[in-house]
């Protein structure tokens, strides 16, 4: 009998190539199917076409911002339950509040610990509360 293992798909959107490479490497090492994109428009397209389990979005990106993508994801019936982690340098309380108020599942502030990010990813996926 052949067992087909389907990897959990995660869209990663960041216009910083260093961060993108790092997060994709870390997710791939952990056995996830990471889909890298470099702007908000591509992130939305990847989410709508690939229907991933999770999206990790930078907030400040060209085209659509991470917050814009999050709003559109929540407004779309097909993607409204997607888990989204915002990964951003915007660290003020008001920014964090706005992220959660818009519907983020978690909020990670740069500079970040890659290990901590993985714990957050695993926790959000395990929670499956959306």
């Amino acid at each position: 009998m052949v067992t087909e293992l389907v990897k959990t798909r995660i869209v990663v959107a960041d216009d910083d190539q260093d961060i993108l490479d790092l997060v994709v490497f870390k997710l791939t090492q952990a056995g996830y199917d990471a889909v890298p994109v470099t702007d908000g428009v591509a992130a939305l397209a990847a989410i709508e076409s690939g229907l991933p389990r999770l999206a990790i979005l930078d907030v400040m990106m060209p085209g659509l911002s991470g917050m814009d993508v999050l709003r559109k994801v929540r407004a779309n019936e097909a993607t409204k339950d997607l888990d989204v982690i915002l990964l951003t340098a915007r660290a003020r309380d008001a920014d964090v509040d706005a992220g959660f108020a818009t519907g983020a599942s978690d909020y990670v502030i740069k500079p970040f610990s890659p290990r901590e990010l993985m714990h957050r990813v695993n926790a959000v996926l395990a929670r499956g509360d959306r």
Binding site: D16, D18, I19, D21, L22, F25, K26, Q29, K110, P111, F112, S113, P114, R115, E116
Partner: protein, 365 residues
């Protein structure tokens, strides 16, 4: 040479000059692209090791060993890639990247550059030592807080904040003073650096609150509030009551809102009275909401009808922060049969609270 020939000659000369300029630009761009592509190709074999290190996956130290062994010409190009990663990650990866910089002599070079004749060189050196959180360089970076260049002083303060060694706190506070013709460090730069250092700057702050310099007292009051240094509360009370500087008094009021106790509600209410300055009254009204003691409900409700509409608005916002008790007061004021200024302040605060979803748990709202 007639006029026509002159125009023709000038036209040709201008055309040739433009063509030459375009050619120079194109050649420079092509050269830059070629150099970039060559550098990328040279670095490609090492990019993987760098990603492994930056992601914290280099448990056997192989990636670090490989990058430590790269020859100087390749390191010269790879260096900027490593520096670019430093402000993006923290924890073990940041420490490993710092170790890589150290192994290539970058830390020693940065320490030497702290005394460079170039202000840019000094600033870059301080920035790098901050990025790698080099505690051993704190004393050297502190000397840059009295640098002749204002930008270098700011970079040094930020670097000290990033390193996070509280022994630099007093140096940063001293740098706030204007001396020898140098304008002191901007207050927000000093405050951010001190906050980044964590709770161990407490003793330096308490000392700073009694400084003769109002700029130092002000920054210490701001940091005491934002950093929630409860031990600073007694000195903050003294500053609110007796300080000669209006900014210091206002900062002390804000801080007391965050770190004060039950007794401070009466103190803040006293300085929200009409006999005080507009700025201090407004600050105290907001601080009462932050403090959140029930005895302030009466004071804040009274301020809803104040002539200073901004003060009334702040009092209304503070009442919202009290939750159901405060919102009930606002609803009472907004529902009055003879609508006056207090009803307007209460109404707009309730409207905003509704938009923010703060009225959900209040019965009857």
């Amino acid at each position: 040479m007639n006029v026509g020939q002159t125009f023709l000659t000038v036209g040709v000369a201008l055309g040739l000059a433009c063509a030459s300029a375009v050619a120079v630009i194109v050649i420079a761009k092509l050269r830059r692209v070629r150099v970039g592509a060559r550098a990328k190709a040279m670095l490609a074999p090492h990019r993987g090791a760098l990603i492994v290190m930056a992601s914290g996956e280099d448990e056997d130290g192989q990636a670090l060993a490989a990058l430590c062994a790269v020859p100087a010409p390749i390191w010269a190009r790879l260096r900027s890639g490593v520096v670019a990663f430093l402000p993006k990650v923290r924890g073990v990866p940041a420490e490993d990247l710092g170790g890589l910089m150290r192994s290539h002599g970058e830390i020693d070079e940065a320490r030497r550059m702290l005394t460079s004749r170039s202000a840019v060189g000094r600033a870059r050196a301080a920035y790098l030592l901050g990025l790698v959180r080099d505690v051993d360089s704190v004393a050297l970076v502190v000397t840059l807080l009295s640098d002749p260049a204002a930008d270098v002083r700011m970079v040094a303060a930020r670097a000290l904040g990033t390193i996070g060694d509280p022994s630099a706190a007093s140096g940063i506070l001293q740098a706030l003073r204007t001396s020898h013709g140098h304008i002191g460090l901007p207050a927000w730069v000093a405050a951010e650096a001190l906050l980044a250092m964590g709770t161990e700057v407490g003793p330096a702050l308490e000392l700073g609150l009694t400084s003769s310099d109002p700029a130092v007292r002000n920054v210490c009051a701001v940091v005491a509030g934002h950093g929630t240094y409860f031990t600073a509360a007694p000195q903050l009370r003294i500053l609110l009551v007796t300080d000669s500087d209006a900014d210091v008094r206002a900062s002390a009021a804000v801080a007391l809102g965050r770190v004060g106790g039950a007794g401070d509600a009466a103190l803040l209410a006293r300085y929200a009275e009409a006999s005080e300055t507009t700025v201090l009254r407004r600050t105290c009204a907001a601080a009462l909401g932050e403090l959140g003691h029930r005895e302030s409900l009466e004071t804040l409700t009274g301020l809803l009808g104040d002539r200073d509409r901004r003060l009334a608005q702040l009092a209304a916002d503070s009442l919202v922060r009290f939750g159901s008790d405060g919102i009930a007061r606002l609803q009472e004021a907004a529902g009055t049969t003879t609508p006056g200024p207090n009803a307007r302040a209460a109404g707009s605060a309730l409207e905003l609270a509704g938009l923010r979803g703060q009225l959900v748990s209040v019965p009857g709202s």
